[in-house]
C-alpha cells in the first residue's frame, strides 16, 4: 500500500536536529519505507543525516510518501508529529 500526503512544517525551529531525531525514531518503528520531498530533494526518513540535509524550515511544504503494509498508520502518526511541533515547547 502507498500513502501520499502533503504536510507543512509548522514549528518555529523547523526540522532541526532534535526534531529530525524524533521523526527518524518514529519511522524506524514501521515496516514501511518513508520518504519526504521538499520539491528539490527527497530524504529517506529513516536516515537522520538524510533528513537533516533537507532544508525544511518553518512554513516548508513537504510531500510525504509511505510504502508498505503499515503505511496508513505510519502516515497518520508522522503527520501528527509535525502538527504537534515534535512535542517541543516553542
Amino acid at each position: 500500500m502507498r500513502v501520499e500526503k502533503s504536510i507543512r512544517v509548522v514549528n518555529k525551529l523547523g526540522l532541526h536536529t532534535r526534531a529530525a531525531a524524533k521523526l527518524v525514531k518514529l519511522c524506524a518503528g514501521f515496516g514501511s519505507s518513508v520518504s519526504l520531498c521538499n520539491g528539490q530533494r527527497t530524504a529517506d526518513a529513516k536516515s537522520i543525516m538524510s533528513v537533516m540535509m533537507l532544508a525544511a524550515s518553518q512554513g516548508t511544504d513537504l510531500e510525504l510518501a509511505v510504502d508498505g503494509d503499515d503505511a496508513e498508520e505510519a502516515a497518520r502518526k508522522i503527520a501528527y508529529l509535525f502538527e504537534n511541533c515534535f512535542e517541543e515547547d516553542e
Binding site: G14, H16, T17, A21, K22, S47, I48, S57
Partner: protein
C-alpha cells in the same frame, strides 16, 4: 626523522612518545596511507565509529538521571547520527580516493556538511552544523585514542609528551598531577601559560609551533630540546644517543643545585635576600619548604574557583586558608581573586560576557568590587583565618585610588561584622597591592602611602606597558623584561616603597629567572617570589653577586640613550 621548530622554554631535554590532546575546533593530524593499507584504514574508521557509539551510549546512561529532557534529545540525535551509515559512507570514499587517514577524511567530510548547513537560509537550520561537528569530533577523538565523556587527560603515562593546540590556565590544575615529559603547542610564547607551567614542572616545552603539531600523532617518538626550540620526530639511534648524553649532563648540573638548598641567600657583600614561593595549590607548600622558601610570596586563589560548578563559600575558604597558614608556619601572602581575562570560571553566578579585550576588561579587583557576593566571602574568610598564622593580603590589578577607597570601606565593614559576631580575627593584617598596571607603577608613590606593601607583577606590567598580548605568538618577540621602560617603572616602584617605608617585592616571572637576578638586586629589590622549583637557581646567582659593584651602574643604565651601550651595561651587570 624530521624536525619542527618553535620557541623553546622550560628546562632541558625530554625524550618520549607523543600524546595528542585535541581541543574542540583544533586540527587533526593529516598523513598519507599506502594503497595496500587503504582498506585497513576504512576498517579503522568503522571501528572508531563503533567505539564512539559505545562510549556515547555509556556516557548517556551515566548522565541520564541528572540531565534534562533537552539533553536526552540531543544525545538521542547524536547517537542516531553516529549510527547512520550515510555519515561514514562519504568518509570511507574519501579515504579510498585520496589515500589519507580516517581522522582527516572525517574532517573533510565534516567541513563539507557544515558548509551545507551554514548556507541554509533559516538560522535554526545552521545549528545542524554544530551537531555534525560534535558528532564527527567524537569519532575523531576515538580514533586518536581519547574517549568521549572522559577527561582527555585520563590514561596519560609518565614521560609522555603532551602535544596540543594550546594550554588553558585550567589545564595546569590537571597537568600537575601527571609526570608528563614535555609540552608542545601550536600557540604561545615565552610567558604563556604553557611556558610558566613547564618551568614550574621543570620540564621542557616548545611553544609557537604554529600548525606544526598536525604532523604528529600519538605514539610518535620525540626528542624535545627546550633550549633550542627543536623537536626531533622519529630520531635515529645516533641522534638519540647524543640527546641522551646531553640530558644526563643537564640532570647532573641540576642535582648540584640541591647542595645549596640549606645555604642562605646572601650576596658576596653580605646583603640577604628573601626568596619566597609562588604557589597555586596547598600541596605545593611541601615543595616550597623543601626548597627553603622563607614564606609564600604569592598564593593564587583562582584555582579554588575554577573547574567547578559552585564557588566555594566562606566556610570552605576559611578552612583552606587556615590550613595553608598553619601548615606553612611562615609568612603567607594570599592574593584575592584574579579572575577574568584569560582565567574564566566554568560555573558560578556571574555571566561574564566575552569582552572585546578581556585583559583590559572587568577582571581581578574590578570584578571583585563589582560583585561583592564573590569578594566578601573571600575577605571574611581571610580575616577569620588570619589568627592561624602570619597572613598578608594582596590585591591584584589595582589601578585607581578610588578602588582603595572602596576596598578600605569594605574591610572596615567586615571587621565590624566579625567583631559583632564574636569571631576572632587579626585587625591589622597587612594589605598590599600588586603593581601590574602601568598606571599604578607610574603613580606608585600615591599607592605606597596607603598600602602596607607592594609587589610587582611583571607579566602583566610588561604586557600592558609594551602593548603586547602575551598569548599572541606573532608579537611576543617584542616581549622584553629589560626594555628601559620596564626597568624604569620597576625602579620607581622600589623608590616609592622606600620613600613610604614599606616593603617592595616582585612576584612575576622575571623574579624567577636567574638571568635578571642581578639587575633586580642592583635596583634595590630584596624580596623575590617565584616558583619554588627555580629558587635554587636564583639563590646560586645571588650568592655569586656583589651588589656594591653593580649598583653604581644602574644610574647610567636607566638613562643610556644608545642601545649598544645599554646592552653592554646589562651584560656587565648580569655576567
Amino acid at each position: 626523522m624530521f624536525t619542527l621548530h618553535g620557541t623553546g622554554v622550560g628546562f632541558g631535554i625530554a625524550i618520549g612518545p607523543a600524546r595528542l590532546i585535541r581541543r574542540p575546533g583544533q586540527e587533526v593530524p593529516e598523513y598519507g596511507i599506502p594503497p595496500e593499507q587503504v582498506e585497513d584504514e576504512v576498517r579503522r574508521l568503522h571501528d572508531g565509529v563503533r567505539s564512539a557509539i559505545e562510549c556515547l551510549s555509556v556516557y548517556y546512561e551515566q548522565i541520564w538521571r541528572e540531565s534534562t529532557e533537552e539533553v536526552h534529545a540531543i544525545l538521542d540525535a547524536h547517537l542516531l547520527m553516529m549510527k547512520d551509515p550515510m555519515l561514514t559512507r562519504e568518509s570511507a570514499s574519501i579515504i579510498r580516493e585520496r589515500q589519507i587517514n580516517a581522522e582527516y577524511a572525517l574532517q573533510i567530510h565534516s567541513e563539507d556538511l557544515e558548509a551545507i548547513f551554514r548556507n541554509m537560509d533559516d538560522p535554526y537550520m545552521r545549528g545542524k552544523a554544530d551537531d555534525v561537528a560534535q558528532v564527527i569530533g567524537r569519532i575523531q577523538d576515538e580514533l586518536l585514542g581519547q574517549h568521549a565523556g572522559q577527561s582527555s587527560l585520563e590514561g596519560i603515562v609518565e614521560g609522555e609528551i603532551i602535544v596540543t593546540h594550546d594550554l588553558m590556565p585550567a589545564d595546569t590544575i590537571d597537568f600537575k598531577k601527571y609526570r608528563v615529559g614535555a609540552f608542545l603547542t601550536n600557540l604561545g610564547g615565552p610567558i604563556s601559560h604553557t611556558a610558566i607551567l613547564a618551568r614550574s614542572m621543570q620540564i621542557p616545552a616548545i611553544v609557537g609551533l604554529h600548525e606544526g603539531i598536525r604532523y604528529l600523532k600519538t605514539g610518535d617518538m620525540l626528542v624535545i630540546d627546550g633550549k633550542r626550540g627543536v623537536v626531533l620526530v622519529d630520531p635515529d639511534e645516533a641522534a638519540l644517543d647524543v640527546y641522551r648524553k646531553r640530558a644526563e649532563k643537564i640532570e647532573r648540573a641540576h642535582q648540584a643545585l640541591d647542595a645549596i638548598v640549606d645555604k642562605p641567600a646572601t650576596t658576596l657583600d653580605g646583603h640577604s635576600v628573601a626568596l619566597t614561593a609562588n604557589i597555586e595549590f596547598a600541596e605545593e607548600i611541601v615543595e616550597s619548604i623543601a626548597r627553603n622558601a622563607e614564606g609564600i610570596g604569592l598564593y593564587r586563589t583562582e584555582s579554588l574557583f575554577m573547574n567547578r560548578k559552585e564557588f566555594p563559600d566562606e566556610e570552605e575558604q576559611f578552612g583552606i586558608y587556615s590550613t595553608l597558614l598553619g601548615k606553612t608556619g611562615r609568612p603567607v601572602t594570599i592574593r584575592t581573586l584574579d579572575l577574568g581575562a584569560d582565567k574564566q570560571v566554568d560555573g558560578g553566578r556571574q555571566s561574564m560576557s566575552p569582552a572585546t579585550n578581556p585583559a583590559l576588561g572587568r577582571r581581578a579587583i574590578r570584578l571583585c568590587l563589582h560583585d561583592l557576593t564573590l569578594f566578601k566571602p573571600q575577605l571574611r574568610a581571610l580575616y577569620r583565618a588570619s589568627v592561624h598564622g602570619e597572613l598578608r593580603i594582596m590585591i591584584p590589578m589595582i589601578s585607581n585610588l578610588e578602588e582603595l577607597d572602596q576596598l578600605f570601606v569594605l574591610l572596615g565593614e567586615i571587621r565590624d561584622e566579625l567583631e559583632a559576631g564574636g569571631l576572632p580575627f587579626r585587625p591589622d593584617i597587612p594589605i598590599g597591592g600588586m603593581i601590574e598596571v602601568p598606571a599604578a607603577a607610574v603613580a606608585a608613590d600615591l599607592f605606597a602611602r596607603r598600602l602596607d606593601f607592594l609587589s610587582i607583577g611583571t607579566n602583566d606590567l610588561i604586557q600592558y606597558t609594551l602593548a603586547i598580548d602575551r598569548i599572541d605568538d606573532e608579537v611576543n618577540y617584542l616581549y622584553d623584561p629589560l626594555h628601559p621602560s620596564i626597568l624604569r617603572l620597576i625602579k620607581s616602584v622600589i623608590d616609592a616603597g622606600n620613600a613610604a617605608g614599606i616593603p617592595v617585592s616582585m612576584c612575576g616571572e622575571m623574579a624567577g629567572d636567574a638571568a635578571y637576578t642581578r639587575i633586580l638586586l642592583a635596583m634595590g629589590l630584596r624580596e623575590l617570589s617565584m616558583d619554588p622549583a627555580v629558587i635554587p637557581q636564583v639563590k646560586q646567582k645571588i650568592r655569586l653577586t656583589d651588589i656594591g659593584k653593580i649598583e653604581p651602574m644602574v644610574g647610567e643604565l636607566l638613562s643610556a640613550g644608545d642601545s649598544g651601550r645599554y646592552r653592554e651595561l646589562i651584560e656587565r651587570i648580569e655576567i
